[in-house]
Amino acid sequence: MSLAAVPDAPPEAEFLSTAARAMSSERGDAALDRLSFWELLPELDDDEAAAAVFSALRAQGRALADTPALGGLLAQPFATALGVEQGTVIAAIRRDTPRRGEVWVAVGDTGGRRLLLDAPGRGTHVLDADAAAPQPVVVAGRTTVVELEVDLDGRAPDLPDRAAAPLRDRATYLARVGASAELLGAAERVVDLAVEYAGAREQFGRPIGTFQALRHLLAWAATDCVAVEAVVRRAVALRRDPPPRFGDAAKALAGRNGMRACQRALQAFGGIGFTAEHEHHHFHGRVLLLDALLGSSAELTHELGTWVRTSGDDPAYAEAVLHAGAP
């Protein structure tokens, strides 16, 4: 079975299978080169280019591939404004940590590229990777994560904050939708594996997938994924003019449902799913990482609630989705 079957979107299905082949046969940057990822980035207003780019992120989640695609997407609007060639600069992601304060991380092998750091209030900075003293972080999920040691105080920005602010909104939207697509890929793949396992693993003389309790658990896991799939597709369709906080909502849903899907899949795998040799923890690790970056589901969900409570605004998501139309 494949949750990816989208009856009304054959171009998307095609992009996805092309991306899946590239992500599973090439390592790191080579997969992105094969998909012309960097050439497609400046063309994101084009529907086919956007479908290809976000399919690459989704395929990356499924294959647990290790590329700097997410940082590339986050850097895209700034790179265009700075006149920098796409792919030569990767955006680092700023985290506000409760215990350590501001921390910058880069995801995927940055391959000697320059790093772009955009700090609200302090403008956008471009640094050599070596100058940022990257320290690898050990994390499940088969991905490279490095923490950077940087001090932006007193440094003259390459793009002043005033010029960076409007780009920041677009960059954040694109990166949140990209992270959601990758979360979807990881979640749907681990659910696929759990469904496969439930059909093969026998207890009481029959496959455990014949027991209704487990069938319903896996049906809920599939439902978690289908919701994210549809929301990501709508977020891509709305990327030119998204309604307020739509990227926040998409990312919050992808993180929340991705974690739920992992939990449900783990229940189907049983004890073997909690071993280091089993792949589950890599998918789970990828989902946890992506949920934590660019706004976690916990923070974003709370902020969305505060917003609808205090602003009196109608998000009018249904109206926006209807009028954005296909793809």
């Binding site: 079975m1 049906a219 909502a249 139309g325």
Partner: protein
């Protein structure tokens, strides 16, 4: 008269709504009395029909102005955003009317659809029976061909809005008792005919829009078959794919307004849960949109409608969990109309996982037909 493309249609509709016709204003008032709720919606639908807005999205030869379900999706979205309280029995316009339009006798539907759209003659759906709920194929109401008419005998239950309806789309057995889903036929029954008895069921939320309907030797002209004689199962599945797939779009538009209304009076401690309910609604927006867009493109919805149904029910319950958490009046009881409506709606949200195919049936459908579990 043909319908304009979606954007232009909506701009026209919005400016018509801006003028706040009295029927619109009335339909925005919380109304606990169902008799009155039906009347205000009949009046609004009458005006929407006269002005042409509700004819959009229906075939020209059936009294519509062309276009697709996306036009209808846009009309109800706009009405919900303007504060209309709900569709009331016009829900059936998006559950059974699409199937009448696709598979019903053309001449009959051309006469009855405009009457439905304008609020003159309303419809009920007769599927469930006292001994056939989730196991619909075991239903026992019979329709026996006698000359130029089917003679119908049996009992239907949980028939929504039957007491307000003129017509019923009835699923009856035309084959032998063992024929299961192969021996069923879908008939258009006039509820005013002799032998029909509608007994309202007083529900746990105080309303009585559901009914038990008895049929004793009711004669239905043989030409009033929807689909093929013996093809009732396909008609029922088609209707249920709408009830589970596309209908979510229409219903969830009103839930956004219920959540926003609740949020405006909510406590700050509830923010995370309010956000969560908003995410549940967004999941329905996206999957529901895919359902209506697929239908507009002529695709069959199939078993994937089960996902949308599950997500709609989850959202409806999340929204009403917030409504309750932020308004204890509805639990304690206050005599205001708006509190009474919130109580009705809250209690109704507890049963949404039962009707239209129970949550367990949807999960079974996904496990078997989509995940292909053994």
């Amino acid at each position: 008269m043909t319908v304009p493309e979606l954007g232009e249609y909506v701009r026209g509709l919005e400016s018509w709504l801006d003028a706040a016709p009295p029927a619109l204003v009335a339909a925005c008032e919380p109304e606990p009395d169902y008799e009155r709720r039906v009347e205000v919606m009949r009046a609004l639908m009458g005006e929407l029909h006269a002005a042409g807005w509700s004819r959009a999205g229906w075939p020209v030869d059936l009294g519509g102005t062309g276009g697709t379900i996306l036009h209808r999706a846009a009309m109800w979205e706009a009405l919900a955003r303007r504060g209309v309280q709900g569709m009331a029995l016009f829900e059936h316009l998006e559950i059974l009317a699409p199937v009448l339009a696709a598979d019903g006798p053309r001449d009959l539907v051309a006469e009855l659809l405009p009457a439905f759209l304008s609020g003159r003659e309303l419809w009920a759906q007769g599927f469930s029976e006292p001994d056939a709920g989730s196991d619909l194929a075991s239903l026992r109401t019979t329709a026996v061909l006698d000359g130029d008419a089917y003679v119908v005998n049996g009992t239907k239950i949980w028939t929504s809005w039957a007491r307000y309806a003129t017509w019923c789309l009835l699923l009856a057995r035309t084959g032998d008792a063992a024929s299961r889903h192969r021996g069923l036929t879908a008939l258009v029954v006039d509820l005013r005919d002799p032998g029909v008895e509608v007994l309202p069921i007083v529900q746990a939320n105080g309303t009585d829009e559901l009914a038990q309907v008895h049929f004793s030797d009711v004669r239905v002209p043989a030409g009033r078959v929807v689909g093929e004689p013996g093809g009732g199962w396909a008609v029922a599945m088609h209707i249920l794919s709408h009830e589970r797939g596309t209908f979510a779009w229409f219903r969830h538009c009103f839930q956004y307004q219920q959540l926003l209304d609740c949020a405006r009076h909510a406590a700050g401690r509830d923010d995370a849960a309010l956000g969560d309910a908003l995410l549940d609604l967004l999941a329905v927006t996206a999957t529901g949109y895919e359902g209506v867009a697929a239908h507009a493109a002529g695709d069959v919805l199939g078993p994937r409608a089960a996902f949308t149904k599950l997500l709609l029910c989850a959202a409806e319950q999340s929204v009403h969990d917030r409504v309750l958490a932020n308004d204890t009046d509805l639990a304690v009881g206050v005599q205001d109309a708006d509190v009474a409506v919130r109580r009705q709606e809250y209690l109704f949200s507890r049963i949404v996982t039962v009707y239209g195919g129970s949550q367990q049936m949807q999960l079974d459908t996904i496990a078997k037909q989509i995940l292909a579990l053994p």
